[in-house]
Symmetry: C2
Subunit: 232 residues, 2 copies
């Protein structure tokens, strides 16, 4: 498998490129609009054909590159049915398997940061979007966020994966790139260390986070796969 973890510094977003060496088919998880030319170059240099762009959710902090990549490369956009992105080509739900060449993904519905959040599970790794972050979690105070639901998603759908499963998050603000399920269960200060649902809800209620910087542009743009003026 070809694998690249790509960092967009303005919004601290991780995008992931996964490619099948045998079939040369590839996907991008959470591509960012401003980086589309770089993705196109990278795919060409690796001789990969982009089949799907896969969103973990409708983002509030950056604009998706899904629409531009669809225009440029004919890739199809994957998102959860409840995400409210009716521009998407393939609407998925919990438990659906997706195959790209020899790469196998299973969709797990992990709402709580938003109603339509999913994690993409592979045999040795999981892409958690803004549900589980390294030493943290996505916020749950807008976009149908719900701290109790987020606790249930992380503990029920992610902490039940094999302990050595690699955790690749949608963001990191401290330079971390990867963790494991075992490590997050042991160390994550918000939801690891055996925290109860009530403790997690109380922690999330106390965060007092600022209003997201880009939400007023990003949300409407992402509902149309990044193809509004802000995205294109």
């Amino acid at each position: 498998m070809l694998f690249r973890q790509l960092f967009e510094p303005e919004t601290s977003t991780y995008t992931y490129l996964l490619g099948c060496e045998r079939t040369r088919r590839a996907c991008l998880i959470d591509p960012v609009a401003s980086e589309v030319p770089a993705y196109i170059d990278l795919l060409a240099s690796l001789n990969l054909k982009l089949v799907y762009t896969m969103e973990t959710h409708v983002h509030a902090d950056h604009i998706t590159g899904a629409g531009r990549l669809r225009e440029a490369l004919g890739s199809k956009s994957v998102v959860h049915r409840d995400a409210g992105a009716m521009c998407a080509d393939l609407l998925v739900t919990h438990g659906v398997p997706l195959q790209i060449g020899d790469l196998d993904f299973e969709v797990r519905h992990t709402p709580g940061h938003t109603a339509g959040c999913v994690s993409y599970v592979m045999s040795d790794r999981v892409f958690t979007g803004d549900a589980l972050l390294i030493g943290g979690s996505g916020r749950s105070d807008f976009q149908q966020g719900n701290a109790g639901q987020l606790y249930d998603s992380i503990t029920g759908q992610l902490f039940t994966l094999a302990p050595d499963t690699l955790v690749y998050p949608g963001h990191d603000y401290q330079g971390n790139t990867v963790s494991t399920i075992k490590q997050e269960m042991a160390k994550n200060p918000r939801i690891g260390q055996g925290r109860s649902r009530e403790e997690f809800i109380a922690i999330m209620a106390e965060l007092k986070l600022a209003y997201p910087r880009f939400i007023d542009q990003a949300l409407p743009a992402n509902q149309s796969c990044g193809m509004t003026e802000a995205g294109a």
Copy 2:
């Protein structure tokens, strides 16, 4: 590839089993509820794992086996986003590629019989559901049917396939099993032989078909993947 064309005589429905010999993954196109036990036996005897059940549309004449197969085997149900079957697991749109082991499918939106009709295209064959039938076409007088749209779907999305592409329809009432695009373009009395859009619309308007026998049970059942009392 393992391939079986299965006939359900009460509603003259064709169901298709396609299996990848390398990965043992399989799909069923348009499974019928009453035949589910036979599908389960057949899959087991061929040592195949059912990944997807793929509907060409929400049927008015028989009840889908998708829900029962999901319960029994964990398969996921695929249908077009506009079909109105919100019970489905994977909602597809025009142009989406789907992969099952080494089998590649492309979704083509072919509305006109219903709004959410699709055809599933492979490299050498197409599953046309009730859009193009052998020597005929699906009716267009209910379920958002539209004869002009059906003409555009068949001529724009199916007659543009390679001439030798095998045509596997959703039904046949005269014992035909398979045709080709070339043959339907040459011989189909409704839409082949260079028929114009206006001629086709006039032919469809003159059919005076009876009200479908099973529609009042089948439609609501199929909107819930066959899991109402009529289907289960």
